[in-house]
């Protein structure tokens, strides 16, 4: 056998004398460039539709913005002057801060930004919205040269300018970036003494988060329980019958999600079909099957079932029947053959289906909105409420980011426990 040429470091050389590795890379580079060019449009699409919105959300969750402007850009003088003031001292900020507020508010009023500012601070301390809205015009009427001192002037315009908590809020939210949205998302707040839990009756997000995760887990378990036998049947039937059944499984996809959820409303409501049947059976008390957690679990299990069946089916179809036969010929009962031989080979499908259903469920919106009632809503309903009704994009983004992190953590844990390579989606 002929030996390849090597250089001083013992690297193998190609025919032209360059190291083999290098010349191989050169040969592959052109190939890679061409491949990249081919997928460029798709890549661009993914970046625009997927990466950018998520990046935007992550940013918004920490950006301290009022409307389209950063807060410190709207109140530059206040931001600068208030730095030296310590709210814990128990005294109102010095005169310079009040004067700076007058200067900044006059500009903001001219540019019609003072209401945005008010709304932004109102997220932190209720009441500041009206404080800014009502003060705008009258502050713009003040003369900077003659109308001082401005502490009295402002308090004269509105008593609330004398509220220490409001000034503490302004100080805490005068930077470009803020953690107040994240604090709010985990039911915390910052007052003049520091960071603390909100009052128990105002805590909602942690409860919602736990509820969302818990109900999603229950739904995932229910889809597994119902989907496993169906997938097995599908995999076991001859191709023609299996295809027909598969169409039935996919049939729900052909109808609108809204229609399916609404039909659950009709079925499950107090005067609905199921309750009528229940009463007909002789029971007196009607069941409350909807506008609660039970309703969400029922409707979402139904809606997400195909996402469990399909990965399971695709895994089960690759398991030849000879495994079960082999197990039985070796002396295993039907149950042992299933549990020791068949079931372990379907874990990849269970993992894939479980992950898919769980992640879909965690982010579900319409169904809990329609059938969830008061105690069956998910965190996504709250996120929607925050940015559509309140307009608090920052809090919505923080909640979204937390959900993203939770899902990623779960995904990581799953990868550690099961191995993501073992997941088969189809």
């Amino acid at each position: 056998m002929a030996h390849a040429e090597t250089d001083a470091q013992g690297r193998i050389l190609a025919a032209d004398g360059t190291p083999l590795k290098q010349s191989l890379q050169r040969a592959l580079r052109a190939q890679k460039m061409r491949a990249l060019l081919l997928i460029a449009p798709l890549l661009l699409f993914v970046v625009i539709t997927f990466v950018m919105p998520i990046g935007d959300m992550l940013l918004r969750s920490v950006q301290n913005k009022a409307g389209t402007h950063y807060v410190p850009d709207l109140i530059p003088n206040v931001a600068e002057q208030i730095e030296d003031w310590d709210p814990a001292s128990g005294e109102l900020p010095p005169e310079e801060v009040f004067r700076a507020m007058v200067v900044d508010l006059q500009v903001a009023f001219d540019e019609k930004n003072h209401t945005q500012l008010g709304r932004r601070f109102n997220y932190e301390s209720p009441g500041m919205d009206s404080l800014f809205r009502t003060s705008g015009r009258r502050v713009s009427g003040l003369d900077l040269e003659t109308d001082g001192p401005f502490r009295e002037a402002l308090i004269d315009i509105n008593d609330d300018w004398g509220d220490l908590e409001y000034w503490a809020t302004i100080k805490a939210n005068s930077g470009y970036y803020t953690n107040s949205f994240f604090l709010a998302a985990v039911d915390m707040e910052r007052d003049s003494t520091g960071i603390a839990q909100k009052d128990p009756d105002q805590r909602i997000y942690r409860k919602l988060l736990v509820r969302t995760l818990w109900l999603s887990a229950v739904i995932t378990f229910c889809t597994l329980l119902l989907g496993y036998p169906v997938a097995w049947l599908l995999a076991d039937l001859p191709a023609r019958k299996a295809n027909l059944l598969l169409i039935l499984v996919l049939l729900p996809f052909w109808t609108s999600l809204l229609v399916r959820t609404s039909s659950w409303k009709i079925l499950l409501q107090q005067e609905g079909v199921i309750n009528d049947f229940w009463v007909w059976l002789g029971f007196v008390e009607r069941l409350s099957l909807i506008n609660n957690q039970l309703g969400v679990v029922i409707a979402m299990t139904h809606i997400l079932l195909p996402f469990m069946i399909l990965p399971l089916y695709s895994v089960m179809k690759t398991i030849p029947p000879s495994y079960l036969r082999a197990a039985k010929s070796l002396g295993a009962t039907n149950w042992t053959a299933f549990w020791r031989v068949y079931f372990p080979q379907t874990t990849a499908g269970i993992g894939a289906g479980g992950l898919l259903v769980f992640i879909l469920a965690v982010g579900y919106f319409i169904t809990p909105e329609l059938v969830g009632g008061a105690d069956g809503t998910f965190i996504s309903n709250r996120i929607y409420f925050q940015f559509s009704a309140i307009g608090n994009w920052g809090l919505a983004a923080a909640l979204g980011t937390i959900m993203l992190v939770v899902v990623l953590v779960l995904y990581y844990v799953y990868d550690r426990l099961v191995g993501i390579d073992n997941v088969k989606l189809g």
């Binding site: 030849p320 036969r325 082999a326 197990a327 010929s329 070796l330 002396g331 042992t336």
Partner: protein, 366 residues
């Protein structure tokens, strides 16, 4: 034909029929009786019902009609896991999520054997197939031949008295296959196991078996030891299916005890050995093995019949010569001769005379 029931039979099929769809019989009237320790091969073309028979024996299919007995007791109503039959599947069916040792321990575990006893038996079974060092591997980390050995070891580890194998060597290359054929027969005889072996490959069937059952059309066409099957096929299907075979068609002129006279379709008259022809006037296929045809007239025995032939093709195959001839209108008449130092090499176009012994020339059904 098939044996009837006998008292020392270990495995018995009695008048077994099987239909999957209620319209066609896949197995028609199967009668088979195997003594203990026999190595029996089911050989036949694709779709002839071999696997179906095996599956009925193993309990994965139920016979539509008839009785299957194991050691004298009918097993029609015994579920598969209670039959205690070892089985080797064509794709091996080694459990992919278990190691080799766990695979082998599985049948022992479900039988409730203790851990130490299990380990000892597993190791012994692994050593038996020369895979002692592979217990910790996954099946996917083994080559095809190694997987095959493990499948064999797993089927044997719980010491079944009967082992079924469905084309276990189908996926292996020729050399490995020949080696495994030897291993399997050695093990089967050493352990005294009764074996039913299914294959497509007639060489495999002939070299491994005590007896071969040739299947066609859901029936056993002939059940006999390999040499009998090859030298004395009982009908033209078996003659053509087993080994290479030359066929000449004609009509029976006369039957005289051990010999009959056949008029071939081109008018030639030859002597033949009547096997399953009964009366003159019947059409027949006369069958002669290629290696029983002689063209060196000096070597031909007294009383041998001769025919004219034209050489069409000569193929040098190393140990033998394979020559294709035109004989009595048949252009696929093949003869094989040993590559001996004095052997004549024929040339295409050459006109020769060929002959054979009447008992080697068997008149079979048309």
């Amino acid at each position: 034909m098939a044996d009837g029931a006998s008292s020392d039979a270990f495995v018995e099929f009695e008048r077994v029929q099987k239909s999957y769809d209620g319209e066609t019989l896949v197995v028609k009237d199967l009668n088979l009786s195997m003594p203990k320790g026999e190595f029996l091969t089911m050989l036949g073309p694709s779709g002839s019902g071999k696997t179906t028979c095996l599956m009925m024996l193993a309990g994965f299919e139920t016979a539509t009609h008839g009785d299957i007995r194991l050691d004298g007791t009918s097993i029609n109503n015994i579920p598969p896991h209670k039959r205690g039959i070892g089985m080797v599947f064509q794709n091996y069916a080694l459990f992919p999520h278990m190691t080799v040792a766990e695979n082998l321990a599985f049948p022992l575990e479900v039988r409730g054997l203790g851990k130490s006893e299990r380990e000892e038996k597993v190791q012994r079974a692994l050593d038996m197939v020369q895979m002692g060092a592979f217990g910790g591997r996954r099946p996917a980390q083994l080559s095809g031949g190694q997987q095959q050995r493990i499948a064999l070891a797993r089927a044997l580890v719980f010491e079944p008295e009967l082992v079924l194998m469905d084309e276990p060597l189908g996926a292996l290359d020729k050399q490995l296959r020949e080696h495994m054929q030897f291993e399997i027969t050695r093990l089967a005889h050493e352990l005294g196991i009764t074996t039913v072996y299914v294959t497509h490959d007639q060489t495999e069937a002939l070299t491994m078996s005590d007896r071969v059952a040739v299947f066609d059309d859901g029936r056993i066409q002939q059940l006999a030891p390999p040499d009998v099957l090859y030298e004395r096929p009982e009908n033209s299907f078996v003659a053509q299916f087993i080994g290479e075979n030359n066929t000449l068609e004609g009509v029976i002129k006369e039957i005289r005890g051990e010999t009959c006279i056949v008029q071939l379709d081109d008018g030639e008259i030859i002597d033949a050995n009547p096997v399953n022809v009964t009366e003159p006037g019947e059409r027949t296929k006369v069958s002669i093995r290629p290696e029983r045809v002689e063209y060196n007239m000096d070597r031909l025995q007294e009383g041998a019949h001769t025919l004219k032939a034209e050489v069409l093709e000569f193929v040098y195959m190393g140990d033998i010569f394979r020559t294709r001839l035109r004989v009595a209108g048949n252009e696929d008449f093949v003869i094989k001769t040993r590559n001996a130092p004095d052997q004549v090499r024929l040339k295409p176009g050459q006109q020769i005379e060929i002959g054979w012994l009447p008992q080697d020339c068997r008149a079979l059904d048309a």
